[in-house]
Subunit: 92 residues, 10 copies
Amino acid sequence: MLYMTRMDVAFPPHLSAAQIADFQAREKEYSGNLQREGTIVGIWRIVGEYANHCLFDVPDNDTLHEVLSGFPMFPYMKIKVTPLAKHPNSIS
Amino acid sequence: MLYMTRMDVAFPPHLSAAQIADFQAREKEYSGNLQREGTIVGIWRIVGEYANHCLFDVPDNDTLHEVLSGFPMFPYMKIKVTPLAKHPNSIS
Amino acid sequence: MLYMTRMDVAFPPHLSAAQIADFQAREKEYSGNLQREGTIVGIWRIVGEYANHCLFDVPDNDTLHEVLSGFPMFPYMKIKVTPLAKHPNSIS
Amino acid sequence: MLYMTRMDVAFPPHLSAAQIADFQAREKEYSGNLQREGTIVGIWRIVGEYANHCLFDVPDNDTLHEVLSGFPMFPYMKIKVTPLAKHPNSIS
Amino acid sequence: MLYMTRMDVAFPPHLSAAQIADFQAREKEYSGNLQREGTIVGIWRIVGEYANHCLFDVPDNDTLHEVLSGFPMFPYMKIKVTPLAKHPNSIS
Amino acid sequence: MLYMTRMDVAFPPHLSAAQIADFQAREKEYSGNLQREGTIVGIWRIVGEYANHCLFDVPDNDTLHEVLSGFPMFPYMKIKVTPLAKHPNSIS
Amino acid sequence: MLYMTRMDVAFPPHLSAAQIADFQAREKEYSGNLQREGTIVGIWRIVGEYANHCLFDVPDNDTLHEVLSGFPMFPYMKIKVTPLAKHPNSIS
Amino acid sequence: MLYMTRMDVAFPPHLSAAQIADFQAREKEYSGNLQREGTIVGIWRIVGEYANHCLFDVPDNDTLHEVLSGFPMFPYMKIKVTPLAKHPNSIS
Amino acid sequence: MLYMTRMDVAFPPHLSAAQIADFQAREKEYSGNLQREGTIVGIWRIVGEYANHCLFDVPDNDTLHEVLSGFPMFPYMKIKVTPLAKHPNSIS
Amino acid sequence: MLYMTRMDVAFPPHLSAAQIADFQAREKEYSGNLQREGTIVGIWRIVGEYANHCLFDVPDNDTLHEVLSGFPMFPYMKIKVTPLAKHPNSIS
């Protein structure tokens, strides 16, 4: 089941560069695993912003929340979730 | 080059059911062609709305505008375009 | 799987009182069936507005869109869908 | 008398992990009591956000404000209250 | 139990001056009755707008919706309802 | 001359509980005096929010600004002022 | 007593050019009279919009509403009123 | 003196295709003249929308309003004007 | 050439009362000079807010930006600039 | 390929004047280089704001994101990107 998300990241000012780098490294690993297992089927940077669009394929709403709240940077992200259905004009 | 779009459709009240059906038939054919040629690489219905998210792969901005303004229902659509870049965490 | 919706109804000015009454009668029947079969598990009027909050229990996103777009008054409704997950503090 | 609420939580950056955990523990107990006594008749996590939809059944506005402002995390929550009435299409 | 409302009126363009005058006459009578019976305890014009603030005293949410949806001009009004509680600094 | 206000309070995170309590005590006294002298003719808590609706009766705009900016918590309040006129349907 | 207003004009599509010209002629006369009597002390076109900023000097809120609702084009205007007070840095 | 504008076009539904084509032809001529005389120094289509960004070079505010309100499609355009100043980092 | 501005002031929480008083004193002097030289032709407090409307008369956009960015409290102000043109109904 | 951007700068309160001056110096150099190489083809200050409009000419979305995220003050900027296409009325 597919969901489109938009995630915007905003670190609080008190985080050090090292702390931020650590968050980003763990985020990269977490995100990579989700891609390898097919949970994230698309991830794109939004040009000019510290933000992304992500396409998730999960069995249900509860799994999606579990996955999203597990992102290391979840406390610093604003996430908007859009549930998707098959489009009648889709040929796939 | 990838762009995410969100398209919202709103027909004016004076269109007849037949006119709307004709628009939708032509839209389906136009959209199908774009998918077969690889210009649209993803199209999804937004649940509960007469709207979609569409992922376009085009060589440049001019081509994208030409494609979007060629939709039969373009005069009745509100389109928001988000240019995308490669995400540093993407494994693809 | 649960989703909260908010639906706002706005009829175009050219509809007659009889047409509106017909829409409302068909809407009542459609809504009643969804409640009897357990698809709608809660429906409430928002005080002072021609709008409601509705709680849906459906197997997936596609079913929800099929149900929502099947409402007789769907063309005259603005629907916002919020996917829900189990709350960690819920005792049910 | 029913009210739908949406609560969004945002902790200020100076709170420690221990302080947050303490808030969450007291919140869970407070929320559980409200559910057991029938004041909260539904509580759901909004997918991807530190937020919830809550359905309250209280005798009047004053009681609702007393209950809401009693949440341990009230100072860190943004609450939107929507009063509900019986829906004419409700079969319950 | 008190509620503050804001009502904004917008007539569709096809209404004649006579029809509007008729609506306004019935509205005045309806509003006057609500004031005499104590349901409306305050009504004020918002300067420069076809809008008002109204303070309602009703036993519950259902009654408020019944009263509001009974306004002759209800189909042409956008109503925002704010439930009120006793203020701790109020001396009344 | 009447004005409706909405005041939203937000304390900065560095204030201590004692400082907040002191602000609230002075606010209560200031508000009580305004009520006793007839400057505030109504004050209500907005359910679920650290906010109020207040109805002021003052001779002119300058007096209203002087009164509002004299609130002890003025630096921490966001105030929206709506000038009111007599409503043609008012029977008072 | 001073108030700043912003007025945005939007004619409904069914008005003829002659009707619009008539409205504009009566508006010009009405506005000129208000300027000559000192009720309007400043009127400026907002560049690129069918809108203006207007500075009114009136004895009270009721007078301002009477003046504003008397504009021939009042039914086609959206008006926002901002009450003004003497600025502490003003040298006038 | 430079100003950036954004213009959004929305034709009312009652205009015929011929009327729209006539508006567009006159618009093209008007816009071309402004470019040739150096009043418009840049004009770009916003991808996916019936809208543009335009960079104007005019002697003053009054001239800009005269130019903008002279567009044949001015009644059907929503225009937002942003006055520009020299940027300290500009090398031109 | 005239421009209407709205300026909203928000001091960061770490400024001391003395620092704020110093800013305000320098602001008063700067503003007074601008009024005496005719650059500011009107300045009004917005009732209930730490904000003002200001009417500027300057030769061009660059001068206005220079004047605005010279305000001692500029880093703590949010400024919205509206360019004005002569109104066709103005009798001045 | 052209893109219009709007960049708004907001420094966090803990930065010293020296740190800000250093950021601004590096920003000026970075921006100057982009102008000299033809990546930035226009940069303008928005009057009254710490913000600019910038016109970029880059080969693709990825390059634009690389350029934008390379600005020394990128972490303190909110950037909105609008992709541009050739306008049918453009004579250039």
